[in-house]
């Protein structure tokens, strides 16, 4: 039998035949690989992990069984993690090994493909946000928001140190933000919502000299579209605080671009394009004004020329980054979400501006339509505010946990916000089941 098979008890991904291994050990003058290790006995591990080696078929079979243990529910869930239908060609192209198994573009001469794709991603975000600088990605919307707050600590023109965020901010964002600012001089405070969007009067009271950063979302965590984002921006501007807007690329295809309402930074979840439902995995959108360019966290791709004066792309302004600047870097981020950014750009280019706007418009219309259907039911009120909605809205019922449990039995998952409030999110992926959801609501609340 061949040496390769003889080594089959080792790593299936180490391509050494027994003969090759022997020749290599021989060249190094050692008897076995263990002789090459310089580990003192006192810390050497001679135990076992107790993990058996398994064939590929067994592992695949096991995992398929494991995932089959998830209940098959039709999800009407959102609140920060949204999925739209991702065309098969995006999977196909992004899965090409040249993209998937490559790494950071330290050698631009042999990584022009990914560099150009990231440059295009940046460009799409520039168009969507109206801001001239967008980076190659943050981890997700929460860390993008947190990095934006830290940016304000580096660039703010006021002496303020307060970060103002909605009290209704999703916990995952707030808790991440709290951790990120913990090492800075910033502190986080909240402003209230009125009717599920910013209470401008209350905010006006709160914004002041100590304000470094004001964050507003549109759509908000309950899907409400801020009716007057510019007013929030004006309040921030009056006190030279950074104005940061949270949104996503689908919403931004339709909504007024943040730059035009005074946004200094835009953050959000760009994985609404290109990424299927993935248990919260995301793609942090980060764009800002040009004057903050050298304070931007994360990677940037820029245009340049090669030795033949042909257009070429390269990572640029790397002196902001940790591998050069160490503790004075703009962030510690290194590995990011580049591949997800690639997918988001592919998806955007597939849809084109019309497709994006159509998708966004459906997010408005479908939410309104499903809300109206629910509202028509006895004992159900939807939405619970007087706003326009994007994808999702709140629903009032008598016994929210009970209704949610009942819906689950009918095969539907919705959010339970409190004893009397549910939240429902409608996208192209579940809209065909919306009538069934409404029927289930009717049955459960009857």
């Amino acid at each position: 039998m061949s040496g390769r098979s003889a080594g089959a008890s080792g790593s299936p991904f180490a391509p050494h035949t027994a003969d090759e291994t022997a020749a290599m050990l021989d060249a190094l003058g050692v008897d076995e690989e263990a002789d090459l290790f310089d580990i003192p006995d006192e810390v050497a591990f001679d135990g076992e992990f107790g993990i058996p080696q398994r064939g590929e078929r067994a592992v695949v079979g096991d995992l398929r069984e494991t995932f089959a243990r998830n209940d098959d529910l039709t999800e009407f869930l959102g609140r920060g993690h949204y999925s739209h239908y991702v065309p098969a060609v995006v999977d196909d192209l992004s899965s090409r090994s040249e993209f998937l198994t490559s790494y950071t573009q330290y050698q631009p001469e042999i990584t022009q493909g990914f560099l150009q794709a990231l440059f295009e991603y940046q460009s799409i975000l520039v168009e969507l946000t109206g801001l001239p600088v967008a980076n190659c990605s943050m981890y997700d919307a929460a860390t993008a928001l947190a990095e934006a707050a830290l940016l304000s600590d580096r660039v703010r023109s006021t002496s303020g140190s307060t970060v103002l965020v909605p009290g209704d901010l999703r916990d995952g964002k707030r808790a991440t933000l709290d951790n990120y600012v913990d090492g800075s001089d910033l502190s986080v405070e909240t402003y209230p919502y009125d009717d599920n969007t910013a209470d401008l009067d209350a905010l006006a009271e709160l914004v002041g000299e100590d304000t470094a950063f004001v964050y507003a979302e549109t759509p908000t965590v309950t899907g409400a579209i801020e009716p007057d984002l510019a007013a929030v921006g004006d309040l921030a501007d009056e006190h030279d605080a950074l104005f940061c807007v949270g949104s996503d690329p689908v919403a931004l295809s339709l909504l007024e671009e943040p730059a035009s309402v005074g946004a200094d930074v835009v953050v959000g979840e760009a994985g609404v394009l290109g990424l299927p439902a993935s248990y919260g995995m995301g793609l942090g959108l980060f764009a800002c004004r040009e004057e903050y360019l050298r304070q931007v966290p994360g990677r940037l791709v820029g245009e340049s020329e090669d030795a033949d004066d042909r257009r070429a792309f390269t990572l640029t302004l790397q002196t902001r980054e940790q591998h050069i600047r160490k503790e004075r870097a703009t962030s510690n981020i290194c590995t990011n979400q580049a591949w997800v950014a690639l997918r988001a750009a592919m998806h955007a280019a597939y849809l084109g501006p019309d497709g994006l706007v159509d998708l966004a418009e459906d997010c408005v219309r479908d939410a309104a339509s499903v809300a109206a259907s629910l509202d028509a039911l006895d004992g159900v009120e939807a939405p619970l505010d007087d706003r326009h909605h994007f994808r999702e809205f709140t629903v009032g019922v008598d016994d929210a946990p009970g209704v949610a449990a009942g819906l689950e039995e009918h095969g539907f998952a919705v959010h339970t916000l409190d004893d009397e409030t549910l939240q429902v999110c409608v996208t192209d992926l579940n809209v065909d089941a919306a009538d069934d959801l409404v029927a289930a609501f009717a049955e459960v609340t009857a």
Partner: protein, 508 residues
């Protein structure tokens, strides 16, 4: 030839407000973006892919990056539609996901010799940040206001940046003459202000920190914690565990050690393991088997676990017994560690990456993991032995820092491109002049290493003129980085502006 930009293939302006259900004041007036038909899209990205290096293209020996082969089956299982669920699902309805997460927590704890693991950090640097935040929370809870984190000069840049982000002053520790931690310098550096020492082992030139037990004692005696940067864990799989060396906290780079694809820069995942005493500070939520509620932070379901361990901060015996003991009947639940630092990611981290890591560990098992480190170290040593370049420090393990000596390491790297290989990490770490930090990983075989060595040696022997002219056989020739940084053009909008500006200038 260049592939045109998306915007050069198509650029269409639409008025999103037209006919919208939203009032005019809420909608934008214009959106100008490319929209490509599927055939055009396929050609665009296929051509871009043809201008990109990958593991399948050939050797990719970037030091500290562990560019392993990423097995296809792991991509397949990550694409299982049953795994594509929303993070806010009722935990009882996503038992499959929780089972996998629990199992991966267990595997990682066992492999690292740790007691409890969080899978939330979405990257290695996020893991570092999580770990240092845990250390900070621990000290604060114990009433210790410590202000410094010690980082060896040769450490990854992320260590410095992380400590700074967490609000610590960074104390840089010079390397000893042998390339390892200078124990005396460490003794001088530690104090009541020492929150933690961050260390990579083997370090960034591949050397095992032989004095690790003494180092741990020094830090622990000063009341500090020991943080392990898992970037180099591939060297030690099955042979040494950070927990056994005295480390209190560690992160794992699953996209390095556990072969998940690097995706052109990400996503990765940076799970963090800690000793029992720190488990209650980990990010929320974590996963446990239903019924384990009494055991703080204990992710393992083994009876032989660490319950009896003394002094977690001064050496412990992390025996998880059989890490592979999930059973079908088990059910799983989420729980919040009592003094959790909160969250470091909006949801649960990079799920699609975690699936692949779990699948990889299950595929390899003990034998495969042990063989991975064996072959990674064998390959690094065999390759170095073939090089005409000097390797100042040793004995090294999975990677080594050769020096280009009088040559410019970055130029030698460009020269290597023309030999059909990816060059190593250059000019880092700084302790080696003109460093070429090289990590072939276990996926190269003898012939491939010989080809790689040949590329090294040929490029190293080229004249300066030849190197300056290199590369010539690549999609782009040498790219001008200075021009890119001096006049940043970061979007196609900027290209238009730049073109217009230059046309105007020419026109005047």
């Amino acid at each position: 030839r260049n592939e045109p930009l998306l915007s050069e293939k198509d650029s269409t302006e639409v008025d999103p407000g037209e006919g919208s259900a939203l009032p005019d004041e809420l909608t934008r007036d214009s959106l100008e973006l490319p929209g490509l038909s599927e055939p055009e899209l396929a050609r665009h990205y296929t051509r871009l892919s043809q201008m990109n290096w990958s593991v399948e293209a050939g050797p990719y020996p970037l030091g500290s990056c562990t560019m392993k082969y990423n097995p296809s089956f792991a991509d397949d299982v990550a694409a299982d539609p049953n795994a594509a669920v929303h993070p806010d699902r009722d935990p009882e309805t996503v038992q499959g996901n929780l089972e996998l997460l629990y199992g991966l927590q267990e595997y990682l704890a066992t492999i690292g010799g740790m007691d409890a693991v969080t899978l939330q950090p979405p990257a290695g640097a996020a893991g570092e940040f999580t770990g240092i935040a845990v250390a900070k929370a621990y000290h604060e809870r114990n009433g210790n206001d410590r202000s410094e984190v010690i980082v060896p000069a040769s450490a990854h840049g992320t260590n410095f940046a992380t400590a700074a982000m967490a609000g610590y002053d960074v104390v840089e520790l010079p390397s000893g003459e042998d390339g390892r931690v200078d124990v005396e310098a460490l003794e001088a550096a530690v104090s009541d202000d020492t929150a933690a020492l961050m260390l990579t082992n083997p370090n960034t030139v591949g050397l095992f920190e032989r004095d690790i037990v003494e180092i741990a004692e020094i830090v622990h005696d000063a009341g500090g914690l020991l943080y392990y940067d898992g970037a180099n864990l591939n060297a030690l799989l099955g042979r040494a565990r950070p927990g056994d060396m005295g480390f209190d906290i560690m992160h794992y780079n699953v996209h390095k050690t556990f072969a998940t694809p690097h995706g052109g820069g990400g996503p990765g995942a940076g799970p963090v393991g800690v000793v029992d005493e720190l488990a209650e500070f980990l990010p929320r939520p974590r996963v446990r088997k239903a019924g384990e509620a009494g055991r703080i932070g204990a992710a393992d379901g083994s009876d032989t676990a660490t319950a009896a361990d003394g002094g977690a901060l001064a050496g412990h015996d992390h025996d998880h017994g059989n890490a592979d003991d999930n059973e079908e009947g088990d059910s799983y639940e989420l729980f919040d560690p009592e003094h959790s630092i909160g969250k470091v990611h909006g949801f649960s981290g990079n799920w699609l990456v975690l699936i692949r890591a779990y699948a990889y560990i299950r595929r390899l098992g003990d034998e495969g993991l042990l063989d991975a480190s064996a072959k990674a170290v064998l390959n690094a040593n065999y390759l170095a032995d073939l090089l005409d370049l000097e390797v100042p420090y040793g004995p090294f393990h999975h990677e080594f820092a050769a020096t280009a000596g009088e040559r410019d390491a970055a130029d030698v790297a460009k020269g290597m491109l023309d030999y059909g290989v990816h060059p190593p990490t250059t000019k880092w770490p700084e302790m080696v002049p003109e460093a070429m930090l090289t990590e072939p990983t276990e996926v190269e075989n003898k012939r491939s290493l010989e080809d790689l060595a040949n590329a090294f040696n040929e490029a190293f022997a080229d004249t300066d003129e030849e190197l300056h002219a290199a590369p010539t056989k690549t999609a782009s020739r040498r790219v001008d980085q200075t021009s890119a940084a001096r006049n940043p053009r970061l979007s196609w909008h900027a290209l238009d502006e730049s073109r217009n500006a230059s046309e105007n200038a020419n026109g005047e």
